[in-house]
Amino acid sequence: MFKLVPLILAFPLAGMLINTVFGRWLDEKRIGIVASVATAAAFVIAVLQIVALAGNHFHAETVLLADWITIGDMYLPWQMRVDTLSVTMMILVTGVGTLIHIYAIGYMHEDLRFARFFIYLNLFVIMMLVLVSGGNYLMLFVGWEGVGLCSYLLIGFWYDKGDDNVGNARAGRKAFVVNRVGDLGILIAMFLIFGAVGSLQFDDVLHFFEHHGAEVGGLATAITLLFLVGAAGKSAQIPFFVWLPDAMAGPTPVSALIHAATMVTAGIYMIARSAPIFSLAPVSQIAVALVGAGTAVMAGTIAVAQWDIKRVLAYSTISQLGFMVAAVGLGGYVAGMFHLLTHAFFKALLFLSAGSVIHGVEHGAAASESAARGVAGEDHSSGAHHPHCDAQDMRNMGGLKDRMKLTFWVYLVGAVALAGVFPLAGFWSKDEIMADAWQVGMVEGRWHGVAVYVLLTLAAIFTAFYMTRQVVMVFFGQPRSSAAEHATENPPTMTTPLIVLAVLSVLGGALNLPRVHTLGRWLEHTHHFFHGMDFNLSVALSSTVLTLAAIWLGVRVYHRCPLENATAPDQLQGVLGPVFNFFQGKWYVDELYAATIMRLYEWKARFLAFQVDWDFWHDFVHDRVIAAAFRGAAAALSGPVDKGGIDRFFDGLALLVRAFAVRILRPLQTGYVRNYALGVMLGVIAVLGMMLVN
């Protein structure tokens, strides 16, 4: 069974290669089927690994694919590690991945680069599986960079669209560059680990830190803080979260798969994987918990004030990732992984439903445009022509409840699950995180536990509020544009995955119910200190009350007095004023970075480009110094040396030869036969004379 695990990479690889080579000649349906079947086959392999683990008393098993680097004592194999943690991630990646592949067949219908999209998606699945199944930090890093690459490629998938026709490409670049900063942290952490342990294998490293923990506390702190930098980059935490909202420029299935369900959780996976190191570094744990909780609140506030349906979800994702990071920072690894799973279900559901909404509204826009044209006849100059309406702006929606029934219901399920209402998936996982914070803060009496608890409670209130706002704005009230008025439901390829995910969002909590702790017991086999947290009634009750209050408030603000038209200001604008603007401006973090880091960087780049490279290097060194020296040398060589010396010598030689010929050889040739005969005679006499003498 364990021997099958390389196939989990082989299937998506095969799918990718088939679409790369033959995609040009296949129709959309076949391309989609190849990619989806490849991912589904990987899912089957992942499920088989559960059976394999069950047969092995849940002990970890490593499968060697190939030797990679062997230099002296350094041995780094391509090795896949099958344990409960990695199998959990494999199931998540391939399972949710398959659903999103199927959805994308419908969503990407008639896209120019249909085959390329599925090639990228399969490549992403491969890289994500390398990340979660690698047996050492270097393989994790390979996968880490690989998913970063796929993220870049897919954010900029419609690279010719967006602001100034390069907006999407810019968003991709931003994600890539911001992630590089975090990756540097991981690289340095890996160097430190290798310097201390002499190996990057998970087994060796974690064993080392478990047994020599007391002596290397400082080192562990340094490594884990650097890991935090990497995780903050990939999982979009403070201060690197700015790339994720822009990443919504990619197609919606990408947002669902990469930027909500899988890739952005890589940071949490890595922290959970390195749990033994983190347990030695209390300072880092506090930092991780506070970064996570701070991000959760900050992103939650921003999400309240956004208009773009996907941007709200993006900030929501950042906020929920903050929950997970806070959980693993508090040592609640099971809670973090639990929330990671349930969040993958309902956030993928929300993104895909949002995609369905966008798709429906776009169709509605096309339908209303053609209707308008039918009425107006050929008269294009009439006032009927209105500017292109943004199909992602919630102000242009409204009233979709009756027009897209199925999408509405699944969206509602996702929103309620995300808000954390009993008994949906989000309730159980979020509650376990809160219980962890309560445990650390109130029972163990540590200040950061209290802080995290307060921050997360705030974030949970915001979550319930902005999801209510979004659902009301999109689905309730009257349509605020002709596009929304004509919106229609989508084909079954898109809606079927939504239903599956909706079911998972409802039932996902069953993975780790209180007292049973299925997931906790399962993960316990990977690290012995992975424990589920017991249900805490007061925590659950208070958060449920606050959630319901927030939902009530949201309904009151947005449903009682809905937006009047697509240009009206938000209802909170009047109440909160500048605070709302501050949230809408995303705390002006982008502007802050632009004014500080970017400006410094651009100044440096300009200085290097114009002053150093152009003025000094090009104009001075190349044009003046080198070119002048070359010209001088060339003039000296061509003038005195070549013309004056070498040429003259050969001219003289030629003159000499000519003079010899004219003066001496020419008179000899008289043309008279007798002269030649005389020559012959003299020659004969000479020869005879020599013979006589000898």
């Binding site: 050889l665 020419r666 008179p667 000899l668 040739q669 008289t670 043309g671 008279y672 036969v673 007798r674 005969a677 005389l678 005679m681």
Partner: protein, 100 residues
């Protein structure tokens, strides 16, 4: 019996006359005859030696020389006729196209 030396002296004399004839005369026919004179002086020397040593080699060689001379006369006269046709003269000094 006339000693062989006399024949050789005669042969040398004839050869010298031929050489001088070739070098100093301008009439092509005369030059030609001078060449024949040289050839025949060689023949005389061959025959003289053949007689001296009592072998037939020299005698046979004379026949070859005479044959070659006959062929040479045919070619040479043809040349002279061709020159006469173009120059209307057989003065060899008129034929100096190779002058440098």
């Amino acid at each position: 019996m006339i000693p062989t030396t006399y024949y050789l002296a005669l042969s040398a004399l004839l050869f010298s006359i031929g050489v001088v004839g070739v070098l100093v005369r301008r009439n092509a026919i005369i030059i030609f005859m001078a060449i024949e004179l040289m050839l025949n002086s060689a023949n005389l020397a061959f025959v003289a030696y053949a007689h001296e040593f009592g072998t037939l080699d020299g005698q046979i060689m004379v026949f070859f020389v005479m044959t070659v001379a006959a062929a040479e006369v045919a070619v040479g006269l043809a040349l002279i006729v061709a020159i006469f046709r173009s120059k209307a003269s057989i003065d060899v000094d008129q034929v100096n196209l190779l002058r440098g």
